[in-house]
């Protein structure tokens, strides 16, 4: 034990040593292990794709850009450890934040205190808006999405629904906003319950939905839980309209749930897939990862890196204040794959909410 | 000599409990080991049965040195041990108990035959063959334990306190049964608290005291020996040192 510890410390010292000045480094606090690693890998691939393009275009003022990935075990504590390391050991002025809103909220005060730019590509909690001036996100706030789901429900003329949501920060946060908006507009929630994260058997939960005889179910959940619920509802012959959120919009959902996913409608912060940016992205993705589908939030991660590169090129220096100004400047009118990335005073971007649906085993836009 | 125990010293952990104990069993004999509590009677049996390896001395059985043989191996050679107290499986039925008892018999036919005979021979337990052994009375349990002898027909049975905790009437029953077993050609080495009873059925007896051989003789000799009584109950000791040792 003592010996191996010694070796580890030696390795630690060796690695901490060579910080090549030739590269422009930014950090990424990514869930590469733990429960969110399902998503983390996709995020990483999208970021690496963008990075490759940035460097192919000549990098940042002639130096190549590099992303230091730090794993956060998908936990708040891991995220805090990771950000401490990125800020103080690697001394990076600009970081990409952890995925889950709860983990992001745990680290954003640290970034703000250290005057380190922290950018989120997929953390949606409304509270992140209040994090501070150094925190940005290229992903719209949940506040918008919750309203989006409520509006969708009403547009489809379902005024009585069952609300179920995954029992985690994202699900609960979104459900709260949905509920507020939906009931304020006169909708009625017949039954409301959380379902556990990561279970394999939701049959009894499905039965509970069935019992309320609702025509529509708002199911704000993740991919694997969503797929399992859909599958088990299908098995019991439950015929309802499923309304879902953005977190389950993934080919993986269709892969897991198969036919059961047919006809699901969900909202998501949309962007046109007809833009040249999107087409270029898609082509690039297919070229780099021929066997892999574009992951959830892949586009946002891609945009985040590209936008950051733009800001780094524009920045007068790597000083926090200069970087912050450059970020705002770079965002102005920037049209990325996911649309307009102009930051508001909270560092948030606006969004257009579109709807997705599953038709013939594929995710399509719902009109 | 079927069994020969020669100057064994044995014990658990610290102090040896047995010091240079010797005894022997001839074919067809019932031999009992008696002595006051703490004399090391059960330790002798455990050494003979193979649960305990002596630190000195040797044990010969049927002409072979078995001092270092395991308990199962001794069983296979026809040296059977029936421990005291918990000597049946309460959560198995009577029949199943007999089947386990007959585990060492090779051949299913032979085993079934032996079990059938045994159940016939003991109507008391034969009637209860499908009951769990935990539902048997104390005497029936002891009988069940003894019946293993009938199944396996070993050459030597080592019996530890068969009458422990039994009512007097049942004690007689068990002792009659032990005598009956010798008719099968089984030799018996017996440890008993109930000295008079044990001596009355034994050909020979050994009296132990504090881990040493004290007296030996035929059953009836020992029965009439005042020394035996004194060992059990104390009395006017020859001298103080003797009393203390």
């Amino acid at each position: 034990m003592k010996k191996s510890l010694g070796i580890i410390i030696c390795v630690f010292l060796l690695c901490a040593g060579p910080l090549s000045a030739a590269e422009v480094k930014v950090g990424s606090n990514t869930p590469l292990s733990g429960k969110l690693s399902v998503y983390g890998e996709g995020f990483q691939q999208a970021m690496l794709l963008a990075l490759e393009e940035v460097n192919a275009e000549g990098g940042i003022k002639g130096s190549p850009m590099q992303i230091v990935f730090e794993d956060n075990n998908s936990t708040a504590a891991g995220a805090v450890s990771a950000i401490q390391k990125l800020i103080t050991v690697d001394k990076l002025p600009l970081l990409f934040g952890p995925a889950a809103s709860s983990n992001f909220l745990a680290v954003c005060p640290i970034a703000q205190q250290n005057k380190t730019i922290l950018i989120a590509a997929e953390s949606a909690a409304a509270e992140i808006s209040k994090c501070g001036s150094f925190v940005f996100r290229v992903f719209p706030s949940d506040a918008l999405q919750g309203i989006g789901v409520a509006e969708l429900t009403q547009t489809l003329k379902y005024d009585q629904v069952v609300l179920t949501y995954i029992n985690n920060d994202w699900g609960v946060g979104l459900a709260e906003i949905f509920k507020k908006k939906f009931t304020a507009a006169g909708g009625k929630i017949l039954d409301e319950f959380a379902h556990d994260e990561g279970k394999t058997d939701y049959r009894s939960e499905v039965l509970r939905i069935r019992k309320s005889n609702a025509k529509a179910v708002v199911n704000l959940t993740y991919i694997k839980e969503g797929a399992t619920v859909l599958k088990q509802a299908y098995e019991t012959g439950l015929k309802v309209q499923w309304l879902m959120g953005s977190a389950s919009k993934s080919p993986k959902l269709v892969e897991l749930a198969g036919e059961a996913a047919e006809g699901v409608i969900g909202t998501y912060p949309t962007f046109s897939q007809e833009t040249p940016q999107y087409k270029a992205f898609k082509a690039a993705w297919e070229k780099k990862y021929p066997d892999k589908k574009i992951p959830v939030f892949g586009e946002y991660n891609y945009d985040m890196v590209k936008l950051t590169a733009k800001a780094l090129r524009m920045a007068k220096s790597m000083a926090p204040e200069d970087l912050r100004k450059a970020m705002i400047e770079a965002g102005k009118g920037y049209m990325g794959v996911t649309g307009d990335k102009t930051f508001d005073e909270n560092g948030d971007v606006g969004a257009v909410y579109g709807c997705w649906t599953v038709k013939q085993q594929a995710i399509q836009d719902y009109k | 000599m079927l069994l020969e125990v020669n100057r064994i010293t044995a014990g658990y952990g610290h102090a040896p409990i047995l010091e240079e104990i010797s005894l022997g069993v001839e074919t067809g004999e019932i031999v009992c080991v008696i002595g006051p509590n703490g004399a090391g009677k059960s330790t002798v049996l455990r050494t003979v049965a193979g649960q305990l390896t002596p630190c000195a001395g040797w044990v010969r059985y049927a002409g072979e040195d078995i001092t270092r043989l395991g308990i199962a191996e001794r069983g296979r050679r026809g040296l059977m041990f029936i421990p005291q107290g918990m000597n049946i499986f309460p959560n198995l039925t009577v029949r199943e108990n007999l089947e386990i008892a007959g585990l060492l018999i090779s051949g299913k036919q032979a085993r079934q035959q032996a079990i059938r005979e045994t159940l016939d021979h003991y109507p008391i337990i034969g009637r209860k063959k499908d009951l769990y052994a935990r539902d048997l009375s104390g005497g029936e349990r002891q009988l069940l334990a003894l019946s293993r002898t009938r199944i396996l027909r070993p050459r030597l049975v080592v019996l530890d306190e068969p009458s422990l905790g039994l009512a007097p009437l049942l004690v007689n029953l068990i002792f009659d049964e032990i005598v009956g077993l010798t008719r099968l050609g089984v030799s018996i080495l017996l440890v008993e608290q109930n000295a008079r009873k044990a001596l009355s059925i034994s050909h020979r007896g050994y009296v132990l005291e504090l881990g040493r051989n004290r007296l030996t003789g035929t059953g009836s000799q020992l029965l009439q020996n005042d020394e035996v009584q004194r060992l059990y109950l104390g009395g006017e000791p020859a001298d103080e040192a003797n009393a203390m040792s």
Partner: protein, 290 residues
């Protein structure tokens, strides 16, 4: 009413699988007197190995893939005992318990290392369940029920009709006496670990067929199985079955009355209360494998 009956049906099916897990746990406890935490990993490894053999590059049909998977799981179970528990058996049960917790953690992470934390599936064709006057059951669910009954039946016959099974019960009753009687300990322990592994793997595979695979699937179910064991009385095979059914039914019926977020709470509460007030289980008036 039919709502509750359907919940009950779900409970019975879930419970029969818990029973499959509980039986192995209780057998090991009955003979070796310790709680094997790593039993959970036998469940997930059974399922993942089946996935491995049924997907590329091996791509055997499912019914064939099950065979090497179960065999390998039994091998894992047996190795657990041989390399870790057997040398530790002289120590206190706590040493064994900590070792089994460590082992469970280790095996689970090996699973993660190989297959990742992602949800996996056998991608069976999706089927609507059969409907019987308003009740729905899927084919897999029926298979689960049938398999659980079949397995427990086989176990019953094994334990009561075969000499090996009787030797096993005898060992659980009184290890020392069994040794005196000539019961071979290596054989008994091999049988116990084989049975425990096969039952766990079978349950794991069924569960995976019914739903999905993920590295935590074992642990999540182990706690239920453990509740079943306690309910049935440690070491009691039939108690484990009844206990499994009880837990399955209780947690599924519970969904009707309180938030499904508390679904697991039911089995936890059962364990907690039982330990405190009926430590020998409702059906466990006596010890020993029966």
């Amino acid at each position: 009413m039919s709502y509750y009956l359907q919940l009950l049906l779900n409970g019975v099916i879930a419970g029969s699988v818990y029973a499959l897990f509980a039986v192995g746990l209780t057998l090991v406890y009955g003979v070796f007197r310790f709680i094997n935490f790593a039993h959970a990993e036998l469940i997930s490894w059974g399922a993942y190995l089946t996935l491995m053999f049924s997907s590329p590059p091996v791509s055997w049909p499912l019914c064939l893939a099950v065979i090497p998977a179960v065999l390998l799981t039994a091998f894992i179970g047996f190795s657990q005992d041989w390399f870790i528990y057997r040398p530790l058996r002289r120590g206190s049960p706590i040493t064994l318990l900590i070792a089994s917790i460590g082992l469970s953690y280790m095996l689970r992470n090996v699973l993660r290392l190989i297959w990742g934390s992602d949800l996996m599936t056998f991608s069976l064709p999706l089927a609507r369940g059969f409907e019987f006057s308003g009740y729905y059951v899927t084919g897999i669910q029926l298979l689960m029920l049938a398999a659980a009954l079949l397995f427990l039946m086989i176990l019953y016959l094994l334990l009561t009709k075969s000499l090996m099974g009787k030797s096993l019960r005898a060992t659980a009753d009184n290890l020392e006496l069994a040794a005196i009687m000539g019961v071979s300990m290596p054989k008994v322990s091999a049988v116990v670990w084989t049975l425990a592994s096969v039952f766990a793997a079978a349950g794991g595979i069924l569960l995976a067929l019914d739903t999905n695979l993920e590295p935590m699937m074992g642990v999540a179910n182990l706690i239920k199985a453990f509740a079943a064991v306690l309910l049935g009385g440690a070491g009691n095979v039939w108690g484990a079955l009844l206990g499994g059914l009880f837990i399955g039914i209780a947690e599924n019926l519970g969904v009707a009355f309180f938030s499904p977020g508390y679904k697991d709470f039911v089995s936890f509460a059962v364990i907690f209360l039982l330990l405190l007030f009926r430590p020998r289980g409702i059906f466990g008036l006596l010890t020993g494998v029966r």
